[in-house]
């Protein structure tokens, strides 16, 4: 994972504080050069994986916990596993991205409506919070009945899981413009729409991208959970994991989990990067 750490503070540059800027840059660079520390942890984790696998093998239950290299082999080279895992990844990605797109549109739309009046926000926001506490396992059968047990149903599960961070972050962002900025618009007689478009939305962008990054991560979870709970239609990673595990195909099951995790991380990183590209120039997304 690459962390962008050597960026100097342009504000300090422009105001002529060269010394401070350099000092700041150096401090960041020192922090950045610690990449080997997580790498060390990774090596330790792989070692731990081998250790546990060794114990399981000694007890004659090696199929329950495969060696890491077996998992890697299943993930990249074993034909029987590969033909199942990657099409499943594609199906899950399709569900996740469709669900995420719906969450983005609905989330931003809902937040925009809520920000129009205090009473609308007060009336509807509690339901957005409830959405977050919804036991998805319990409502899955209901979703299956209404939307079907394949693509549409899985998208709805994904949507329900990833909607809240979109609503909450957009709402927070739309309220981020401070009083003086709002009054600046008010003094020019700017309409509500103009204020929304030229002030509130731009000011909300950093929050919206934080929401998007979180929602994206959750959409992957949603797609996999939805796949496992509804289980029809084109099989995704959730189905792959369940099937391999039920057949006690340890390396294949672990490989599916590994690919699902990597997919989740990749989505999180890509959307994080997207946010930095969009607003990083003027806002430090961290």
């Amino acid at each position: 994972m690459v962390i962008n750490v050597t960026v100097l503070d342009p504000a300090a540059e422009a105001s002529g504080e060269k010394g401070t800027a350099r000092a700041r840059g150096r401090r960041f660079r020192v922090t950045g050069s610690t990449w080997w520390q997580p790498a060390l942890v990774f090596v330790a984790l792989v070692g731990l994986g081998y250790g546990i696998a060794g114990v399981f093998a000694l007890q004659g239950r090696g199929f329950l916990w495969p060696y890491p290299h077996e998992v890697l082999y299943a993930a990249v080279a074993e034909p029987a596993a590969v033909v199942q895992i990657y099409p499943a990844l594609l199906n899950s990605a399709l569900v996740a991205l469709t669900g995420l797109a719906c969450a983005v549109v609905l989330g931003i739309g809902a937040a925009t409506v809520m920000v129009q009046a205090r009473w609308i926000e007060r009336s509807f926001f509690p339901y957005a919070v409830i959405l977050q506490c919804l036991p998805i396992l319990a409502v899955a059968p209901l979703i299956g009945t209404i939307f079907g047990y394949n693509f549409a149903g899985k998208v709805v599960v994904t949507l329900l899981i990833s909607l809240f961070p979109m609503i909450a972050n957009t709402l927070f962002g739309l309220q981020a413009a401070d009083r003086a900025q709002r009054e600046l618009f008010q003094l020019q007689g700017a309409s509500r729409l103009t204020t929304l478009v030229k002030l509130q939305f731009p000011a909300a962008m950093p929050s919206i991208f934080v929401g998007l990054r979180n929602a994206a991560g959750l959409s992957v979870i949603g797609a996999i959970v939805g796949d496992q709970l509804l289980g029809q239609g084109s099989p995704g990673l959730g189905t792959a994991i369940t099937v391999f595990a039920s057949r006690t195909q340890g390396p294949e099951a672990f490989a599916s989990i590994l690919i699902a995790s990597l997919f989740g991380i990749a989505v999180f990183l890509v959307f994080g990067l997207l946010g930095r590209l969009a607003v990083g120039k003027w806002f430090d997304l961290g």
Partner: protein
Amino acid sequence: MTLTASPPTSAGVGAATLLDFSDVAMRFDTGTVALEGVDLTVRRGEFVTVVGPSGCGKSTLLRIASGLETATAGTASVSTKRIGYVFQDATLLPWRTVQRNVELLAELHGESSDERRRKAAAAIELVGLTGFEKNLPKQLSGGMRMRTSLARSLTLDPELFLFDEPFGALDEITRERLNDELLRLFTEQQFAGLFITHSVSEAVYLSTKVVVMSGRPGRIVKAFDVPFPMPRDPDIRYSAEFADLVGEVSHALREGHR
């Protein structure tokens, strides 16, 4: 808009009255009485500065003048729509460059992009920010941000210019430089200025008239005409007459505080 220099005229009884407050009071819903019996006139070519203890209603006075608040008693009449308002902090939009920030007001008034660019370029030149058009606010020093904010208001070609402690957060040297720039703008543009500050010497240096307010509820306790001619000589700050007037205003301020 004309950002060209017009010859300085001394404000007299004949000059247009742009702001006229008569017996203005402000009582908020919370019960706080911020202003009481305020009479204040600002004519074209006058630069009036208000000093007063914190919380006495100075910002409220400006907010009434700008139309952000409505007085609860008395009459507050402002006879122009071209009002510049400079807030305590620069209030720039951080995602816009200097150029686009300065263009904002003309943009909100639906002016063409050619017109906007022309006005912004003229205003940016007036405040001495040429060459920084493409910078984002975070790439500017505090003083440069304030200049950007000034330039943004200048695009309105204001007849009445309201300032709410615009230089309060700046260091002494930057503040003095901006004071000189503001005086230059004032002599060139001949607007009517209403300026709020905590610094008595800034008040005396900038204005044609200094108004002292009492603690809450704010009323005007004393007004001083500043006799020094415009354009003002920066060295006036070190003269005995200047020090005397600063002393008198400070004294009135302390009296009103009790």
